[in-house]
Symmetry: C2
Subunit: 597 residues, 2 copies
C-alpha cells in the first residue's frame, strides 16, 4: 500500500506552525506522498518542505491539537509537486531544521483550529477523530518497499541519474594495491551475492587462494563475511582486513579454508593481530550461539586483542540520554556534567578512537597485519577499519577520498543503514535494530578534524549533511542495507547519488575545509579523556545558535578564496582546488539554526 493511499485529507487550511525562538506562522498544510508542506498565508512567501521520513512522532493532544515533531532534516532542493518552492530551499531547510530531536522543546506544532485527520485510517474508526499516532506509525511502517520512497521520485535539475555512483570501487581499490604488491586479487566469488549477501560483488582476497576455498571460508563466517582486504599500507606492506566472527560454536568447529586464508595473508615468520571488538567474555559467550573467535590453537600466528566497543541498544540509549541532557535547559553545571558522564557517549567516542589507533599502530608501528571483527562485522568492525584508514591514509582525508572511504567501508561493506537508521535518530519509537554507529563514526571524524585542523579536506558541514542523509534523504546513496538489496531495488538506476549532488561546484565548496593542506603523515589523535570534546556543532545544533562560529568559518573560507584569487591574478595559474563563488560564500556556514536565532 502506498502512503498516498492513506491520505484522506490532503490539505488543511489555517494551520499554525509554532517553532521555538521564532514567530508562529499561519498557513496551509499539505501532505503528499513524501512531504509535509506548509505554505504561509496569506502571501505564501514562506514554504516549508519536510520529508515525511523526518517526522519523529505524530501526537494527538487535547483540544484537538495535531502535533507533529519533525527532525532536523528538511526537504531537498528539488520540488516533488507541481509548485516550485517560492522561498529558496536554503530557507526551508533551515526553518524545518530547527525542529530537532525531541518532541517537547524543539517540536513544531501545526495547530489547526478546525483539525481534521490528514490520514485515512486502515483500521475501523472508533470515533470521528482517529488516533494520529497509531495511524502515522502504521503508515510510516507500511512503506516497506524501498522503491516507493522519495529518492525514487526525486529528480533534481542539472543532475543525471547515472552520475556519481561509485561503481568500480573494488576495482579502483585493487588498482591502487596492485601498484604496490601482487599479494591481493579481485575475487568474483560473490558475483551473485551467493557467498555473502552483505558484501559487494567483488572483493579483495589473498592472491594465493582460489575462489573455491574462499567460498568455503565464507561458510565458516557469520553472514558469510569472510576476511577481505580493506586497506593496504604502502609504507611497509602490511594490510588491514575485516570479517565477521568465525562460526566456532560450542563444539569448537574449525575450517581449514578459513585457517588457510588467514595463513596465506601472513608472510614467512610473520605474525598478525586479530582485534575483536567485543570483550573476551562476550566473544566466549558468543560460542554458545554458534559464533566465537579465532582460537590460538587453530590460528597460531594470530594474536587476539579484545577491545569492547558498545553497539546496538546500549549505544542507542547512550545517544538518547545525551540528546536528552543537551536539550534540558534548566540544568546546573554539576547536573549537566553528571548527565554527560552518565550518557557514556564520550566514552564510546574515546573507545572507538582508541581501538582505531590500536589497529593503526599494529599496522604502522608493529608492521603487522591486522584483522578486525566483532560479531556480525557490520558495525563496530567498520567503525574501526574506517577510522584506522583515516588515521593512516592521507588519501582518505580528501573530500573525494572520504566519499570513497564511506562508499567502500560503510555502504558497499554492508553497514545496514536501512535497519540502523530506520527512524529519526531521536524518534521515540525505535526498532530493535536501530543504532547510531554511523553517527559515532562521524563524531570520531569530527574529533580528528578538531585535533588536526589542516589534515582533513572537508569540514563539519559535510559530517552534518552525511548524518542528515543517512536518516532521511532525497538521494539513493544510503538506501538499503547492502549492495544486494540495492541491486534488487535498482537504486543505482532509479535514484540520484548523494555524491553527485555534493560534488556540484556550487554545493561542494560548502563542505571544504579552507585550511586544508595535504598532510602525508599518519595523524595520531590524542585519545585521553581530556582531549575528547562534545561535538557541540552536532549535539547543540538546534539548541544553541552557532551563527557566530559558522560565520567565522565562512570568513576563513572567504579569506582563503581571496588569497587564492589574488594568487591567481599574480601568477595566472589555476589552483588545484576549486574555489567557492564569491556570492555563495556568505551563505555557507549557515547550518540551519535560523529557528533559534
Amino acid at each position: 500500500m502506498e502512503f498516498s493511499e492513506l491520505i484522506k485529507t490532503a490539505t488543511v487550511e489555517d494551520v499554525l506552525l509554532s517553532r521555538p525562538g521564532v514567530a508562529a506562522v499561519r498557513g496551509t498544510l499539505c501532505i503528499t506522498s513524501h512531504h509535509l508542506l506548509l505554505s504561509s498565508c496569506p502571501r505564501g512567501d514562506l514554504e516549508l518542505w519536510l520529508l515525511i521520513r523526518n517526522v519523529d512522532a505524530v501526537e494527538k493532544r487535547v483540544h484537538n491539537l495535531g502535533w507533529c515533531h519533525p527532525r532536523g532534516v528538511a526537504a531537498p532542493c528539488g520540488t516533488p509537486g507541481s509548485r516550485a518552492p517560492r522561498a529558496p530551499s536554503r530557507c526551508a531547510a533551515r526553518t524545518c531544521g530547527c525542529c530537532s530531536w525531541r518532541s517537547r522543546a524543539w517540536s513544531s506544532a501545526w495547530t489547526s483550529p478546525a483539525p481534521s485527520s490528514l490520514l485515512r485510517r486502515k483500521t475501523p474508526s472508533r470515533g470521528l477523530f482517529p488516533s494520529h499516532e497509531s495511524l502515522a506509525a502504521q503508515a510510516l511502517c507500511s512503506l516497506d518497499s524501498v522503491m516507493l520512497t522519495y529518492p525514487f521520485f526525486h529528480r533534481p535539475p542539472g543532475l543525471r541519474l547515472q552520475h556519481g555512483w561509485h561503481r568500480a570501487v573494488p576495482e579502483r581499490h585493487l588498482q591502487r594495491v596492485a601498484s604496490q604488491t601482487s599479494q591481493w586479487r579481485l575475487s568474483s566469488v560473490n558475483g551473485d551475492f551467493g557467498a555473502c549477501p552483505s558484501y559487494p560483488r567483488a572483493v579483495l582476497v589473498p592472491a594465493a587462494l582460489g575462489d573455491e576455498a574462499v567460498a568455503k571460508a565464507a561458510r565458516f563466517r557469520q553472514g558469510g563475511r569472510f576476511p577481505v582486504l580493506c586497506y593496504f599500507h604502502p609504507k611497509n606492506g602490511t594490510a588491514l582486513l575485516r570479517s565477521s566472527q568465525p562460526l566456532t560454536g560450542p563444539n569448537r568447529r574449525r575450517c581449514r579454508e578459513d585457517e588457510q586464508l588467514l595463513g596465506t595473508v601472513l608472510g614467512e615468520g610473520e605474525r598478525g593481530f586479530v582485534i575483536d571488538t567485543r570483550s573476551a567474555q562476550a566473544a566466549k559467550q558468543a560460542r554458545m550461539s554458534g559464533g566465537g573467535t579465532e582460537p590460538k590453537s587453530s590460528y597460531p600466528r594470530w594474536r587476539r586483542l579484545h577491545r569492547a566497543l558498545e553497539r546496538g541498544r546500549p549505544l542507542q540509549e547512550s545517544f538518547a540520554r545525551l540528546v536528552e541532557a543537551c536539550s534540558d535547559p534548566a540544568l546546573s553545571m554539576e547536573r549537566w556534567l553528571g548527565r554527560l558522564e552518565g550518557s557514556r557517549w564520550l566514552s564510546h567516542v574515546k573507545a572507538a578512537l582508541s581501538t582505531a589507533c590500536l589497529a593503526a599502530q599494529c599496522l604502522d608501528r608493529e608492521g603487522c597485519k591486522v584483522l578486525v571483527h566483532g560479531a556480525e562485522g557490520t558495525d563496530t568492525t567498520l567503525l574501526v577499519t574506517a577510522l584506522a584508514q583515516l588515521i593512516l591514509d592521507p588519501a582518505c582525508r580528501t573530500l573525494e577520498g572520504f566519499q570513497e572511504l564511506l562508499e567502500r567501508e560503510w555502504i558497499q561493506a554492508g553497514h545496514p543503514f536501512q535497519l540502523r537508521c530506520a527512524r529519526s535518530a531521536c524518534s521515540h519509537a525505535r526498532g530493535k535494530q536501530e543504532a547510531p554507529v554511523f553517527l559515532l563514526f562521524l563524531d570520531c571524524v569530527w574529533q580528528l578534524s578538531r585535533q588536526f585542523p589542516f589534515s582533513l579536506e572537508f569540514g563539519e558541514q559535510l559530517l552534518l549533511t552525511l548524518f542528515d542523509n543517512a536518516y532521511a534523504s532525497a538521494y539513493g546513496t544510503f538506501l538499503c542495507n547492502n549492495e544486494k538489496e540495492r541491486s534488487l531495488c535498482k537504486v543505482r538506476e532509479s535514484t540520484h547519488s548523494l555524491w553527485a549532488w555534493l560534488n556540484q561546484p556550487e554545493e561542494k565548496h560548502k563542505y571544504l575545509n579552507p585550511l586544508y593542506s595535504h598532510n602525508p603523515l599518519v595523524i595520531w589523535p590524542s585519545v585521553e579523556p581530556q582531549s575528547i570534546q562534545l561535538w557541540q556543532g552536532f549535539f547543540l545544533r538546534w539548541i544553541r545558535p552557532s551563527q557566530h562560529l559558522d560565520e567565522a568559518w565562512v570568513e576563513i573560507q572567504r579569506l582563503v578564496q581571496g588569497k587564492n584569487s589574488s594568487l591567481q591574478e599574480s601568477t595566472g595559474k589555476r589552483l588545484s582546488q576549486p574555489l567557492p563563488e564569491p556570492s555563495a560564500g556568505t551563505e555557507n556556514g549557515e547550518t540551519g539554526t535560523a529557528g533559534t536565532r
Copy 2:
C-alpha cells in the same frame, strides 16, 4: 635580605635537566638574584632562563637529587646577566614552559651527580645537605620587598621606562562619560589615598555630591571603598557602580552620606539594583563581623539581588582540583568527567558569566542603575563589573580597550595581585590570601571569545600572557596590591609597563584576533552549562600539544595578512589595523608546547 645573599653556590656543573617528552639536557645550572639559568654542555647551544618566582617547589630527594619544579612561565626576552642568551628567548620560554603546574608529571628535574646546596641556609644546618624546601620557601618569602624583584632590574632594549603606563585612566574615563552626561565628576577626595587606600587617586562620583560627603560615605564602607562609577552606558544613560559592603554591623548602623550618595545616583522615580556577590545568608552573617548589606529600609529605591560567587580558598581548591584532574593521564572518561564536575571550576565560570549577564541586563534591558559589591569589593565584584563591561561595551573588546579595562577595573581598582598571585598558581605551598580570581576572569573572557569569534580584537594568546605575567613578570604592571603601594614602590618610575612591551608592533600581532571586526552590539553569551567549555588552551597547555590548533591560528593570521596586503597593493591605501610581519607570522601561535611535542 636580598635573595642574592642567600646564594652559597652560584653554579653547579654537570646537572641533568629532564623534561617529559624531550631528551634530557646536561649542562651547567646557575642561580642569580632573579633567575635559574641552565646552559647546556658542552656546546652551550641551549640556554634556559627561568624566573625564580616561577619555581613551584624545591624538593630534596633520596640519592641527593635536587628537584626543581618550575611553572610554565619563563624568562622574558631581556638578559639580566652579563651573557646574552644564545638560544632565542622564544626557545627558552617554550622549554621551560613545558614544566608546568604540577610536580610529578611536568616537573623539570635538575639532577646533579655531585649535588651541592645552591642556597645558603639562614638557620643552623643539621647536616651537610640542608633542606632545600624550607630554605627555598624562606628565601622566596623573604623577598618581601617588591623593589628587589626582577621588574626593577629588567631593562628590555627598545623600551623607555615611562612608556606604556596608563596614567590618566580616570581622566580619560571621565572624558568619555562627560561627553554623554554631566551627572558624574572626577573627585580627588582620594588624592592622598586617605579615603580609600585601595582606590586610585581619582575616581568618578556623582556630580551632585561634595567630597566631604564622599569621604564620610567612605568611612561607612569596608576598606573605604565607597560606590564609584565604573561604567556609563551611553545607550540609556544607566550606570554601573561598584563598592565594598557597607559597615552595617550587628547594630544596623546607617550612614546618611552613603544613603545620599546612592540616592543621588538615581534620578526622579528611578530604581536601582544592588547585586551582592554573596548569598543572602552570607551577607546577613557578615553583619556579625561589622559588615552587611544595604537594608531595604535605608535604601528604599535599591532592590537587592544575591548571586553567590565563590572566591578565596574554595576557588583556589577548585582550581587545584581541576589542574590535578587535567594532569592525570590514566583516567577513564567517566572518571575524568566526574573529576571535572567535582572540581566545580566550570560552575564558577558559569556563575561569574551569569552574574555579569544579570548586571548587563539590568543596565541594558531594564534601564536601571546597578551597584555591585561583595565583601571587600576587590575580587568577585571586579570580576562581575569587568565582564559586564566586556559584554556591553564594544570599546572594551579592542586590544587597547581591553588593556584599559584591565588597568581600570583590575589594577587601579585595587585587585590585590600581590596577595592573590603570590605563588605559582600551582605551587603546593599557598598563602591564605591566594585565589585565582583573575584567572577565572580570563577564563570567562575566553568563553566570550569562543562564543563570539569576531567580536574581540584579541585572542587566546593574550589571555595566556596576562595569566603568566600576573603570577611572575619582568614588568611592573601587575606588581603590588593597589595604586598606593605602587606609588610607594615607585613602580611606574622604576619598572617597565607590560603594555609597552605588548604593544610593540612585533609583539602585538601575536595577540590580535585575525577575524576581528567591530561589533557595536551587546554580546549576550549563552550561560547554559552545555555552552561552557573547558579552556583547553589553558588547562591542557603543557599537557597536550596544541601545535596543530596553533598553526591553524597562524594560518588564519597569514591569510588575513595576505588579503590585507593584496588590498593594499590594489588600492594603495593603508589599513587601520597594523599587520603582522610575514616572517614572524609562523612563530606566532607557538605557545610553548615544545616539550610535549
